[in-house]
Each structure stands twice: as structure tokens, then as C-alpha cells.
């Protein structure tokens, strides 16, 4: 017998560049807001999502720090690491811990402090999300380079072009313009996106998620609320590009999605609103296919037809996504939940006209090494 899991509170910091805030400040700020939103007085355990606290912010033991600084008492805590899926994995461990009956109410918080470091340092550290002991790393492949290689093959096989990637970036920017928590709220144009500085051919600056400071938190409990966690699922995939069975697939996304649908007894057609891990514009398209919202190699047509816009058939990344809301790595998987809970409550930035009932979040780690999917329901 497993206990049901409900979402009671959410909180997040603004995403952006915060010179005067430490990693701890971001964790505590998001946690306080989620605990206040939940209206609870007792937390039984804390799960933290974080990727580069040790290497960039020179700080570990984040679980104990959160419990201590919030004054939660001598409760168990842990930090979960799964590259950019660290937040989603921390959330999933919180869900499982309640399902098991061990805890009644838990806090999940994710944060990352990145903006103080140089781009080349951050690129080097993010590369630890790929297998570092192989010829592939020595060839000089970068994390964005993986998705650049994917994009060139995708263009070759489908007829999609840089313009379709630009439409993803533009959509997410337009969504972020209405989200006061987003890192980038300045309007842009297709031309500006297409002519921006190249990062890794064919991906330009607007096709890549930015370096961001920020935090996000969620309070879960087995006690009922009006938002239920219908499913939590996770899968692993290849840790090297040269091991990909099909370069244009993300097996971890596909499998985590299939498992989540099976657990929830739902399919892609039942989902009203989605947050997809758009670390790159290409990734949003690929994962929208793997999650069953579009047939394989046709996601770019869905974007072209406006189906993923706020007013489209399957709105994706109404928050602005990683591309424009920002991507403070450990916070990202939890910030997706923040936006979806607000959509389900009916008070989100870019609120859907018809208040959604079922929402799906997909959080990716590495170049497809981890994927976590959560399905939420308004009850």
C-alpha cells in the first residue's frame, strides 16, 4: 500500500544574475516561500537538487545547511545529483519517500549559483555531465556541441532548418516576457535570433539556455490538497554521443514518459499543459516527439504550425522554458513544477484560457543520460 502524494506549497526566486546572493541564500529564499505557501509547521525530511555547488560555489552538505538554517530540527536530508535533472530527481526521491510511508511532509529545494564564473569555466564544469574518461571528451565535444550535432542530422533527415529552431526560441521568449521570474524579458525577433552569435553550428546564442542563478522549492505531503502527483518516473540513457543507437532519439525521455503515462493511466492526448527541458531549442523539439505529442521527426512541424504556443493544442513551456526563464541547473526541474502548479491553480504567467487539469513536467540530465517525468492533476 503506497501513500498518495499531494503538492501543498511552491516557491521560487527570480532567475537571473544575483551577485550579492550565495547558493545558500537562494535555497533558503525559495524554501521559505514554499513552506509559507504550504502553511505547514513541520517538515519530516529535505531533498536538495544541485549540480555544481562543490565545483562552482565551493559548497556541499546542502541538505544539512537547509535544515539547519531553516531551523527544521534534526531531520534527515540529502542532496541529489543528476546533472541538469538534479531537481527532478530530488523531487522524485521526495515523492517516493512519502509513497513509502516513511515521511508525511517533505521539502524539496533546488538551486544553482553560476553567474560569478566565466563561460569557459562553466562550460568545462557542465562537461562533467558527459563521460570524461573517453575519446569523445578528448575530441573536444561539448555539451552544446552534442545538440548541435543532433540538429545538423535532424535538418538533414527532416527538412527542418535553423528557422524552426528559432521559432522555439521566439515562442519561449514571448512566454518569458509575461513571467516576472524569468531571466530574459526583453522582446526579440526571428531575425535577431537567426543572426545571433554562433555557439556550436547550427545553434546560436538564442538556441542555448543561459547561465543563471536561482532557486525553486516544493512542499509535498500525503495529506490531501487540490494538486495530486499522479505519476513520477525516471530512466537513464546513453552517456556518450557515439553510443547513441539513434542520434535523433532520447531513449531516457521516451522511457520515462512511457512509464509515467502507464503509472497515471493516461496518454499524451490527456495532457493539457507541459514544461519540457529545453536546454536547447533542438531538445524541446526532440523531447516533444519522445513524449508522444508529435510523431517522430515531425515535432518541427508542430512548432511551425504554432501548436506548442500558449493558445495552441499542446502548450509547451508557458514559463518561458530554460531558454528564456533561465536554467539554474539544480532548480530547473523544480521550477517546472512551480509553473505547472500555478497553471493548475489558475494564476500562472500565460495562464491557459481553459484552466488545465493535467500537467506534465520533463527534466533532462546530461545529453540524455537522465530523464524524469512527473504528471500532476488538479483534483
Amino acid at each position: 500500500m503506497t501513500a498518495p502524494v499531494y503538492i501543498h506549497g511552491i516557491g521560487m526566486t527570480k532567475f537571473g544574475s544575483f551577485e550579492d546572493k550565495t547558493l545558500k541564500d537562494l535555497l533558503i529564499e525559495a524554501s521559505k516561500e514554499a513552506i509559507k505557501d504550504a502553511g505547514v509547521s513541520k517538515i519530516d525530511a529535505v531533498f536538495v537538487g544541485n549540480f555544481m555547488g562543490g565545483s562552482l560555489a565551493n559548497q556541499e552538505i546542502l541538505g544539512a545547511i537547509v535544515a539547519n538554517d531553516l531551523g527544521l530540527g534534526y531531520i534527515p536530508t540529502a542532496k541529489l545529483e543528476g546533472a541538469c535533472a538534479s531537481g527532478g530527481i530530488a523531487l522524485r526521491q521526495g515523492v517516493l519517500s512519502i509513497m513509502s510511508g516513511e515521511y508525511e511532509t517533505v521539502l524539496i529545494v533546488g538551486a544553482e549559483k553560476m553567474k560569478h564564473a566565466s563561460t569557459s569555466t562553466v562550460t568545462q564544469v557542465i562537461n562533467t555531465a558527459m563521460d570524461q574518461s573517453t575519446n569523445e571528451k578528448e575530441a573536444g565535444l561539448t555539451f552544446p556541441g552534442y545538440f548541435g550535432t543532433v540538429a545538423n542530422r535532424y535538418f538533414y533527415e527532416t527538412g527542418a532548418s535553423k528557422e524552426h529552431l528559432a521559432k522555439v526560441a521566439l515562442k519561449n521568449r514571448e512566454n518569458a516576457m509575461n513571467n516576472p521570474y524569468a531571466q530574459f524579458q526583453k522582446p526579440t525577433t526571428i531575425d535577431e535570433i537567426l543572426n545571433a552569435r554562433m555557439v556550436t553550428d547550427p545553434l546560436g546564442l538564442f538556441d542555448c539556455s543561459p547561465i543563471t542563478d536561482g532557486g525553486a522549492a516544493v512542499v509535498l505531503s500525503s495529506k490531501p490538497s487540490n494538486i495530486k502527483v499522479r505519476a513520477s518516473a525516471q530512466a537513464s540513457g546513453p552517456t556518450l554521443m557515439q553510443d547513441a543507437d539513434d542520434l535523433l532519439s532520447l531513449p531516457a525521455v521516451r522511457v520515462s514518459g512511457e512509464k509515467a503515462y502507464e503509472k497515471a493511466g493516461l496518454g499524451p492526448e490527456d495532457i493539457d499543459v507541459v514544461e519540457i527541458h529545453d536546454c536547447f531549442s533542438m531538445t524541446e523539439i526532440l523531447s516533444s516527439e519522445e513524449l508522444g505529442f508529435f510523431p517522430k521527426l515531425q515535432g518541427w512541424q508542430g512548432v511551425n504550425e504554432g501548436k506548442t504556443r500558449v493558445d495552441g493544442e499542446i502548450p509547451i513551456n508557458t514559463s518561458g522554458g530554460l531558454l528564456s526563464k533561465g536554467h539554474p541547473i539544480g532548480a530547473t526541474g523544480i521550477a517546472q513544477i512551480y509553473q505547472l502548479v500555478r497553471q493548475l491553480r489558475g494564476n500562472a504567467p500565460n495562464q491557459l484560457t481553459k484552466q488545465p487539469k493535467i500537467a506534465l513536467a520533463q527534466n533532462l540530465g546530461g545529453t540524455g543520460a537522465y530523464s524524469v517525468v512527473h504528471i500532476l492533476e488538479r483534483v
Binding site: N135, T200, Q242
Partner: protein, 105 residues
């Protein structure tokens, strides 16, 4: 170079168990370091370690006579489908060049 095989799955990376049948992988054989560009990217923003090389091309090479692919650095500008072959191995990296460049030189 060595390719590892079980149940028709071929890889240049050695794994302990076959993801299909679950048995230990024991088949291995040599293939020439020659193939075609399956896809590629030109990296303009490098990590610290490769800053001195930027911009540089990295490609996923479909090796001949096997299903295995190899991630390699390419010294030339390439397109998908170009034939490439090994030029040298530098610090553990396979560095390839266009096959026709060799013929002409």
C-alpha cells in the same frame, strides 16, 4: 580500431554486459579507421581545455564495415556524407581528415 559486439549491437566503447541478452560481452574485432560523417558541429565556444583550438569541428563518424560510430575531431570543414579517415591520435582524441584531401596531397 576495436569494436565490441553482442546481439548485433556494436560499439567502440566496451561495456560489461550486453543490454539485449544480459551476457558478458566477449566478441571484439578490428575495423579500419575510415568512415563517413554522420553529423557534425563547429564548436565556437570551447571549454577551457580546448580554448586554443576554437573554432574546431567535431563529428560523429559512421565507421565502415560496422554499425559502430565514433566521435572524432576533424581538421577540415565537412558535411554529412563526406568520407573521412584517421590522421592521428592526439591525447586520446581521434583526429580525422577528409579522404579526398589525402588523395590530392
Amino acid at each position: 580500431m576495436i569494436v565490441y559486439e553482442c546481439c548485433g549491437i556494436e560499439s567502440v566503447t566496451k561495456k560489461v554486459y550486453c543490454s539485449s541478452c544480459g551476457k558478458e560481452i566477449t566478441n571484439e574485432y578490428d575495423v579500419p579507421e575510415v568512415g563517413t560523417v554522420y553529423s557534425f558541429t563547429v564548436i565556437q565556444v570551447p571549454p577551457t581545455q580546448f580554448a586554443h583550438l576554437a573554432p574546431y569541428t567535431v563529428a560523429l563518424v559512421q565507421l565502415n564495415n560496422t554499425k559502430a560510430k565514433l566521435t572524432a575531431r576533424i581538421v577540415d570543414q565537412v558535411n554529412i556524407g563526406d568520407e573521412v579517415k584517421l590522421e592521428k591520435i592526439v591525447d586520446g582524441a581521434y583526429v580525422f581528415k577528409k579522404s579526398e584531401v589525402l588523395h590530392n596531397s
